[in-house]
């Protein structure tokens, strides 16, 4: 026996067709709306970029505020176009930061023979500023730290170390600094670069053996300090070139 499709079925099909139309209409409106919002945002951004681009590049305080703003709204100003960020493109922020990174590498590599791969932050900033021909204060510690972060994927071991006393060092070799070496760097800062077993014994309460082992490792294994066997006071003193102040 054959029963054809009933009238009810016909109604149902028409109904669902109408619903589908409505839904696509709704989502189209939504998409349009979003797209117009996006265009608006882009325009605003472009406006911001053209107005403030130079300030961001040249004014460290403004740059700091800008970075703060970006991080609070979860935007990475360095994300390239491929990651969907037009910031880098429009602001040239990425270029600026990468350029700085290249110069940091340049300075680190050219001073490595002298300092064994650890350079004091202030010294690094001073040389980079000189390289760029800008006055001191234009490039900040924050900028350098941020640039060094962009270098991380290279795996060259660039890292900012806090050695205490408000002093920071930039390590640029793939070498782990242990806790004792960090202490030595900090103490050497105080003495203008000079450090000796007795200093570590007196100020840090280290045993002579511990001080000797740490210093000899830095001297012989890592090349992070130089030996002075004519020291008037200690006889045998160690000098950390990255903690010495070079007027050149």
């Amino acid at each position: 026996m054959h029963r054809g499709v009933g009238l009810a079925a016909f109604d149902k099909e028409q109904l669902s067709q109408r619903f589908a139309n409505l839904s696509s209409e709704l989502s189209k409106t939504q998409v349009d709306h979003l797209q117009s919002q996006l265009t608006q945002f882009r325009t605003a951004l472009l406006h911001f970029a053209t107005t403030h681009r130079d300030s961001i590049r040249s004014d460290p305080a403004f740059r700091h505020e800008f970075q703060q703003m970006c991080s609070s709204i979860g935007v990475d100003p360095l994300a390239g176009p491929r990651k969907g960020g037009w910031w880098a493109e429009m602001l040239g922020m990425g270029d600026w930061q990468y350029e700085l990174g290249v110069q940091i590498v340049d300075v680190c590599v050219s001073t490595r023979e002298r300092n064994g791969g650890v350079i004091e932050m202030g010294e690094l900033i001073r040389i980079v500023s000189k390289l760029r021909g800008v006055e001191s204060g234009v490039i900040t510690e924050e900028d350098v730290t941020r640039s060094i972060k962009t270098l991380q994927p290279l795996g060259a071991g660039y890292e900012v170390l806090d050695v205490g006393g408000g002093k920071k060092m930039v390590r640029n070799v793939v070498k782990e600094l242990d806790a004792d070496q960090a202490v030595i760097l900090a103490e050497a800062q105080v003495e203008g670069g000079r450090i000796a077993e007795a200093i570590l014994e007196n100020r840090r309460g280290w045993t002579r053996e511990r001080a000797r082992a740490a210093l000899e490792n830095m001297l012989l294994r890592d090349g992070l300090c130089w030996l002075d066997s004519q020291d008037e006071h200690y006889g045998r003193a160690y000098w950390v070139p990255s903690a010495m102040r070079w007027d050149e």
Binding site: W226, W239, D247
Partner: protein, 189 residues
């Protein structure tokens, strides 16, 4: 303490590393040693050129007030280079052909090449040309102690001889025996 450059009374600019106390110690770390040796060699040669010094002896490390005093010691930080370290620097200079041992089989003195012998040959020939002394016979003494000071004043005889030998290979000079020793005649090159 800041490490700064310093100008000697004769007007030579000492690099800032010269005021770093460990600069005067032989470094046990290989790469540090290589780096500082490089700095020392450059310093020795530029100072030699500045003061027109040809000979460096191990003993110079221990002679206060000597020719080399200003660089081999730094009285401002009370440091001086130990003779053994100086001796190893001299060996490094010889390896790089920036110096030769003054006497064969002796390693306590070097003749410095702040100009290479080839460069001295050029200096010598242009001097002879400029002063119109081509084709005339000159004694070694007339070259090393000319009446008018020249770039060759005080040049040491062994170095002069090497320069002349280089010129004679291209027929621009010829060594000639003269009454009181040796002489040389220069030709248009």
């Amino acid at each position: 303490m800041a490490l700064s450059t310093h100008t000697t009374p004769s007007g030579f600019l000492l690099p800032s590393i010269h005021s770093a106390p460990p600069f005067f110690t032989h470094q046990p770390n290989q790469s540090t040693h290589a780096h500082l040796t490089e700095q020392w060699m450059r310093l020795i040669l530029t100072y030699a050129r500045h003061k027109r010094l040809f000979i460096l002896r191990v003993e110079d490390a221990e002679v206060p007030g000597g020719d080399w005093d200003k660089i081999l010691r730094n009285e401002r930080i009370n440091r001086q280079i130990p003779p053994s370290y100086l001796s190893s620097l001299m060996a490094a200079l010889v390896v790089k052909n920036l110096a030769v041992y003054e006497l064969a089989k002796q390693t306590h003195a070097v003749l410095l090449h702040w100009h290479l012998p080839e460069e001295w040959a050029g200096v010598l020939h242009s001097w002879a040309t400029a002063t119109g002394q081509l084709n005339t016979i000159l004694t070694f003494y007339e070259i090393s102690d000319p009446p008018i000071p020249s770039p060759l004043s005080c040049i040491l005889i062994p170095l002069l001889r090497r320069a002349i030998t280089i010129l004679s290979r291209s027929n621009r000079a010829q060594i000639i025996g003269v009454a009181d020793g040796e002489g040389v005649r220069f030709f248009v090159g």
